[in-house]
């Protein structure tokens, strides 16, 4: 029987994990909700963010620079990919969209492997993140506590963008009904470009944040991609608050299940996803009738 201290430490860990998942998933969900594109390259975007952090931190000792450059790089990269590749697939069937993003993901992974090799790279934890903090019931790495803060700030930025700006209004309207938005005279396709880039930026920032915690290898995004799809399904396709709620839920399930039986942690999130699909197919915060 786990003690209170063990329970609380895993519950807290779930929030740390969940906030990271929420950040990646919010990118995925706005792309899916607005563009209707299932972005199978999203894990690779996350990975790319981590590698940008690696490159930046090998030259300057500033994590802020790594985060800023990582976010900008992925914003720009998303723009290029959207204009150069994805926009030709909006009117194609879903299978084609899946195939092209899947193929893109593979190409990105292999390109990174070609440049950096398959050996894992290291990024040091920033100086303000070293050490362990005493959270009264348990000890926890300081940097992980800080990632919750950083991820929350970025998510807050996204919230302000989506709910307090004009472009955000267009994006949310585009999620609701892209055809109507177009008919009402707004150039919704231009908004698509913004949305895709924001989505990749979200994944890339998560990659930068996660870099000091992980072994940075070209395949590192794969596990996160799958978990993100689960988050999006649970939270609701296209729902920004759903991505956050879903992220926390999945993070908590992963952490708390390891308390009982570590081998079932991964399986547990799929079990919950199945339950959600049966009981409430649109997801917890998704809208009815969304494609």
């Amino acid at each position: 029987m786990p003690t209170l201290s063990q329970f609380l430490s895993q519950a807290f860990n779930g929030i740390a994990l969940g906030s990271l998942l929420a950040l990646i998933a919010c990118g995925l969900t706005i792309i899916l909700g607005t563009l209707g594109v299932l972005n199978f390259a999203h894990g690779a975007m996350f990975m790319l963010g981590a590698y940008v952090a690696f490159v930046v931190l090998s030259h300057v000792d500033s994590f802020a620079a790594a985060l800023a450059l990582g976010a900008l790089a992925l914003l720009f990269f998303g723009l290029v990919i959207e204009r150069g590749l994805i926009r030709f697939y909006y009117d194609r069937p879903h299978e084609d969209q899946i195939l092209v993003t899947f193929g893109l993901g593979i190409m990105m992974v292999e390109a990174v492997r070609h440049v950096f090799g398959g050996e894992s790279q290291r990024v040091p934890i920033p100086s303000w993140g070293r050490g362990i903090v005493n959270l009264h019931f348990f000890y926890y790495p300081l940097y992980r506590v800080e990632t919750i803060g950083i991820a929350t700030l970025i998510l807050l930025g996204f919230y302000l963008l989506l709910y307090r700006t004009r472009i955000g209004l267009v994006v949310r309207a585009g999620i609701e009904d892209p055809l109507m938005v177009e008919l009402l005279g707004t150039h919704v396709r231009r908004a698509f470009m913004v949305v895709f880039s924001l989505g990749t930026m979200a994944a890339g920032s998560a990659g930068v944040i996660y870099a000091p915690l992980a072994a940075i290898i070209p395949n590192m995004g794969e596990a996160f991609l799958v978990q993100c799809f689960v988050v999006v399904v649970i939270g609701g396709l296209g729902s920004f608050p759903g991505a956050i709620v879903g992220g926390i839920i999945v993070g908590e399930i992963l952490s708390l299940t390891t308390l009982i039986n570590p081998a079932y942690a991964e399986a547990a999130i799929y079990a919950v996803m199945t339950l959600v699909l049966i009981v409430r197919p649109r997801g917890l915060l998704g809208a009815v009738g969304r494609a």
Binding site: G117, S120, A215, N219, M220, A223, S255
Partner: protein, 456 residues
Amino acid sequence: MPRLISSRNQIGDISLSRRSLMKAGIGATVAGIFLPYATSSGWAKDYPELGTFPAGAKGSTIFVGGVMPLTGPYSSSGKDMRLGFELAIDHLNDGSRITERIPTLKNGKGVLGKRIEFQVADSETKPDPAVQSATRYIRDNKAVMLTGGVSSAVSIALEELGQREHVIFMVANSGSNDTTGKDCQRYGFRSQLSAYMASKALAPVLAKEFGRDRKVAYLVPDYTYGHSIYDSMKEFTGKEGWTVATEQLAPLGTTDFSSYLLNIANSGADVFANLAFGADADASTKQAQQFGILTKMKYVVPNISQFQAKELGPEIMGGTYGTQAWWWTEADTYPLAKLFVEDFEKKNHYKPRWGASEIYLQMLVWADAVERAGTFYPIDVIKALESGHKVDSIYGEVWYRAGDHQMVRPVPVMVGKKPNEMKGPEDFYRIVEIVPGEQVMPPLDETGCHLQPYET
């Protein structure tokens, strides 16, 4: 007996009715089917067709297929293995200072006079792509031998393929006991030390260093290899009074170990034994350090990955006890190892790791067996490998045990060097003891291995 001559054709008659053409065609086809059997009995030694024999051995070259992880969490091991593979084939085809010293390989002109051609396929650290590539090598390239591995799941799958297709599979890297245990195959041979051998050699060193009756927290990759080494470590450290504080099972390819490490941090253990491998070992070690586990507990890695110290740094790996199948400072003990390290480093600009050394070792042992058998016929090669003939190799004297096809070879136990102890940029480990293989082999009746009869 089919009539090869139509009723209308005679020796001088060249008229070809459609019917006679058809009859001739059918006759020729039937004759063609029976022809090989008719002529094979005219050969000096009566070898039936088996696997890719004799098709793969007919020409002036032979084909060897390598299947190793070039992507996935074990890709750095795969890359090292590939370079060792290429060096071995170079040396076999064109001679080298090492092959000169092995009596059967002295002439340095390939194996049985045939040059080796090869290809390397990516197993992706998964059994299915590995089996697909290996099958292609058998069907299309008529490979006379397959080699590679790293992930034990892949190695076992390829062993089974080799058994089905009657092509020898030499397992270069695989740590699970099952590879030469319950999943052993007549056509499979393994050189790497098994989890059992590693644990048996390591446990007494651990007890001597850390004392008896310690509590251990295990991080275990949830597949055959992880379970194997967990069981063996539990068995042998148990003999020193060590107990299990917790066993945390994580899927292969996990990137975030935080929930497992939290449990480990809270387990009250004195020792953290990390059974993960490759990129998983790097991530979990890094994260364990962040959780303060490495300062609170002693760190043991029973099977150290090839580049772990390079990827994590000596600040973390210094003081860590474990085993590796081989470390390059064994060049001080074995003269052929010294030559191997020199040749490899000249070509590839880093000191070889045990991905490269294992496959290099195996290629030479296999070539020696083929030379002794005098043929590529698989069963004769298998018998040559099983004969117990000792090859003086880069690991000293090695041979395969006939009962389970496990190579009897040295087991080096080592400890990580702290930064101030290192005498060079790759001097990551100090070898504490090289345990002779015979001392740590599992008793045959405990392995669960039942090799199939030769003619299946």
